[in-house]
């Protein structure tokens, strides 16, 4: 702000528009900056970027200076006058100053591929998008035959990021090989797992990337229509994607003859209505068709008979947003990252009781301990971390003794755990693991689609049995009963909702048995399931 600075008369300041940043005051900070009286004739140009994913520093304000983008955070609205007075617009010193954001160790150590642009650009600026490498993947794909695009994706080793880890290229090949005239691309943006928010952040922070990824998929398999199924809990992502789709249509990035090619592809947003099971792909398809989200039996697989009975690619947001990079840089570059059969990078989401929560995108193979301790800085409460749930509400709880496990699909499976959507939820030593196991059953009871008995009834029985164990009633018999129930749910459920609910329960029992038979704090057990009056069995008559 000093008069010596004659090279500019507008300071560019970035304040995230990401929902997490907004949840802790980013809008108010942006408003303060826009309204602030600026000395020295400077105007402030506030750009609402995505979040860099250093969520404990939100709102993270960045100022463009000749030395790069200098960060300040976390900034409250009350901090703004003092920051301006201290010379923030020139990148001056202040207790909240973090230095050049690119060089923050947390960020510098990551390998951002899918998240490369998130937080860097203005999410709704198509100019920014292209200036930062956007559309390179699509342009490359449009020069290629569809089958070659599929081969490229197969060779990259990219596996589905939604949970099951199925190779994306193989799924695409199945759809490509179907002769139907009408095929669909469906993006699964239901992201119902607790501890996961990467889909949301990429939709809010780099929406054109998802459009580009879905368009490449359309070219690769011969689809002309796409659906993006976003959960209703994500209003910001819905709004951003809607605007981005309009802009993309206006630029010829969607619609007829995309980028001057012969490809026609258009994209529609569908909003979910509060049902976890609609993240399961066949349930999502039912929901897209306007029905109850009842899981379909497989086969037929959606790749052959999917949406409205047509061949359909169903992929997660992160899978589709990784495709443009694979096409832009080539399969080899992506394949070179990772370990074993887990190729490329994984977007880990650090959440729960953690000091530094947020997005860590790094090659597969990093250990839980590195994530929790090096990146996360331990618990927020400062107490010892006792348990970590990896892979969402259907994932295992792991004790401290397991923190050296490398994070890849196979190593986790061997340890009786799963990577899921990459969520890592940390609990400190005040956690009551019997209560967590009970919650897993309660959640399944609440969110089951109701189609099969082991899941619909088993989960209700599971809650009751755990209550009896905790109450000290015939503990041995009831523990045996719980084990039986888990086995029945695992073997007898139609989908992974009922099939995997035993995973958090059994892992809690295996590693934290004490909590079931007389330790820990019983607070959570007082919270009984809420009757909503819209239970799933009702509409079945």
């Amino acid at each position: 702000m000093t008069s010596e600075n004659t090279t500019r008369n507008t300071a560019t300041v970035y304040v995230p528009r990401d929902a997490a940043a907004r949840s802790v005051g980013a809008d108010e900070v942006a408003q303060q900056l826009e309204l602030a009286p600026i000395e020295g004739g400077f105007g402030v140009d506030v750009v609402r970027n995505g979040s860099r994913g250093l969520l404990w520093l939100e709102p993270l304000v960045e100022v463009v200076t000749p030395e790069g983008r200098i960060g300040y955070g976390p900034v409250t609205p009350e901090d703004v006058p003092g920051l301006l007075a201290a010379g923030m617009l020139d990148g001056a010193d202040h207790p909240l100053r973090l230095g050049p954001v690119d060089q923050l160790p947390w960020l510098a150590r990551q390998n951002r591929v899918t998240f490369a642009r998130v937080g860097v650009t203005d999410p709704l600026s198509p100019e920014d998008y292209e200036a930062h490498g956007g559309l390179q993947g699509l342009r490359a794909a449009l020069e290629m035959e569809p089958a070659d695009v599929v081969t490229e994706v197969t060779d990259s080793g990219l596996r589905g990021r939604g949970g099951a880890g199925f190779p994306a290229g193989i799924k695409w090949k199945t759809v490509l090989d179907c002769a139907d005239e009408l095929k669909f691309i469906c993006c699964n943006a239901d992201e119902g797992d607790s501890g996961t928010f990467a889909d949301r952040m990429v939709m809010e922070g780099d929406p054109f990337l998802l459009i580009e990824g879905m368009t490449i998929a359309a070219h690769a398999v011969g689809a002309r229509e796409g659906y993006l199924y976003i959960r209703s809990e994500y209003p910001d992502a819905i709004a951003t994607m809607n605007t981005a789709i309009d802009i993309a249509r206006g630029r010829g990035w969607l619609g007829a003859g995309i980028l001057g090619s012969s490809l026609d592809f258009d994209l529609h947003i569908r909003v979910g209505a509060g049902a976890y099971i609609c993240g399961e792909e066949t349930s999502m398809l039912e929901s897209l068709e306007g029905k109850r989200g009842m899981v379909r039996a497989k086969p037929p697989i959606p790749a052959i008979e999917g949406l409205f009975g047509r061949p359909t690619v169903v992929n997660n947001v992160l899978t589709l947003t990784t495709v443009p990079v694979v096409l832009a840089d080539g399969a080899k570059a992506y394949q070179d990252l990772g370990v074993g059969r887990s190729r490329g990078t994984q977007v880990f989401q650090l959440a729960g009781n953690i000091k530094r929560g947020g997005i860590v995108e790094t090659a597969f193979g990093i250990t839980l301990r590195e994530l929790i301790e090096d990146y996360g800085g331990g618990t927020l409460s400062g107490r010892p971390a006792r348990a970590v749930q990896v892979g969402g509400p259907l994932g295992a709880y792991l004790p401290e003794a397991r923190f050296d496990l490398p994070m890849d699909y196979e190593a986790l499976a061997e340890a009786g755990a799963m990577l899921g959507h990459g969520g890592v939820v940390v609990f400190d030593d005040t956690v009551d693991m019997a209560a967590q196991a009970r919650f897993a059953m309660e959640f399944c009871a609440e969110e089951s689609c109701g189609k099969c008995t082991p899941c619909r009834v088993g989960s209700v029985r599971g809650v009751e049995v755990i209550d009896r164990i905790v109450a000290g009633e015939q503990q041995d018999e009831n523990l045996a009963l719980l084990e039986d129930l888990c086995e029945l749910m695992t073997d007898g459920s139609l989908c992974a909702m009922g099939g995997l609910t035993p995973m958090p329960v059994r892992s809690a029992l295996a590693h934290f048995a004490d909590d079931f038979v007389g330790r820990g704090d019983r607070r959570l057990l007082e919270i009984h399931p809420v009757q909503r009056g819209n239970t799933r069995t009702e509409g079945q008559a």
Binding site: A19, A20, R22, S23, V24, L55, W56, G192, S194, G195, F197, S232, E233, H268, R270, V271, G272, A273, G274, A275, Y276, S287, L288, E289, G290, K291, R292, G293, F308, Q349, L350, A351, N353, I354, G357, G358, L380, Q389, P393, G423, V425, F427, D428, V431, Q436, F439, F443, E446, R523, L524, I527, V530, Q531, R532, G533, N534, R536, E538, G539, Q540
Partner: protein, 164 residues
């Protein structure tokens, strides 16, 4: 929750419900499988999907009333009756539990409110939700469409009173 057996008569409110539903259906005509978008539109306008809407939807979509009823009741978002003047949803999923979501639930109980219900004065409806995608900055609460992070019981009190 059984469905009324008789065809709805067109009382004053029914006419407006019917017109809202017909308009919503018309706005989404030509879209594939448009029932969910239409239900969202009806709820956005009426605050709920009332019973009177069911036969009209059945007519528009050429489905049985049981089919429509089945869809409406399957999804947590769709209400049969309007919520209170403000709606507060508290995240009860694991990451927020790890950050003390149970303390927020205790606060709700101590305030004389019940999860899933509207306060007697119709002022506020408090509900549970499983994950708002703000899991690193929990406990998370959404109030009237606005997301709040790192919510303490005191802050929840202010949200419930409408002062935040």
């Amino acid at each position: 929750m059984t469905e009324g057996g008789s065809i709805m008569t067109t009382s004053g409110t029914d006419v407006s419900v019917e017109s809202v539903v017909r308009r919503a259906a018309a706005a989404h005509r030509g879209e594939r499988g448009a029932l969910l978008p239409v239900l969202h539109a009806v709820q956005a306008e009426l605050g709920c999907v009332p019973q009177e809407a069911i036969p009209v939807l059945a007519d528009e979509f050429n489905l049985s009333r049981a089919d429509i009823h089945g869809v409406v009741t399957f999804y947590h978002d769709f209400r049969r009756e309007p919520a209170g003047r403000s709606t507060v949803r508290i995240c009860r999923a694991e990451a927020c539990q790890a950050l003390g979501a149970d303390r927020l639930l205790s606060h709700v109980r101590e305030s004389g409110l019940t999860l899933g219900e509207t306060s007697t004065d119709g002022g506020v409806t408090v509900e549970q939700v499983f994950c708002l995608g703000n899991c690193a900055l929990g406990p998370s609460v959404e109030a009237n469409g606005r997301l709040h992070g790192r919510v303490t019981p005191a802050r929840l009190g202010a949200i419930l009173n409408g002062t935040v």
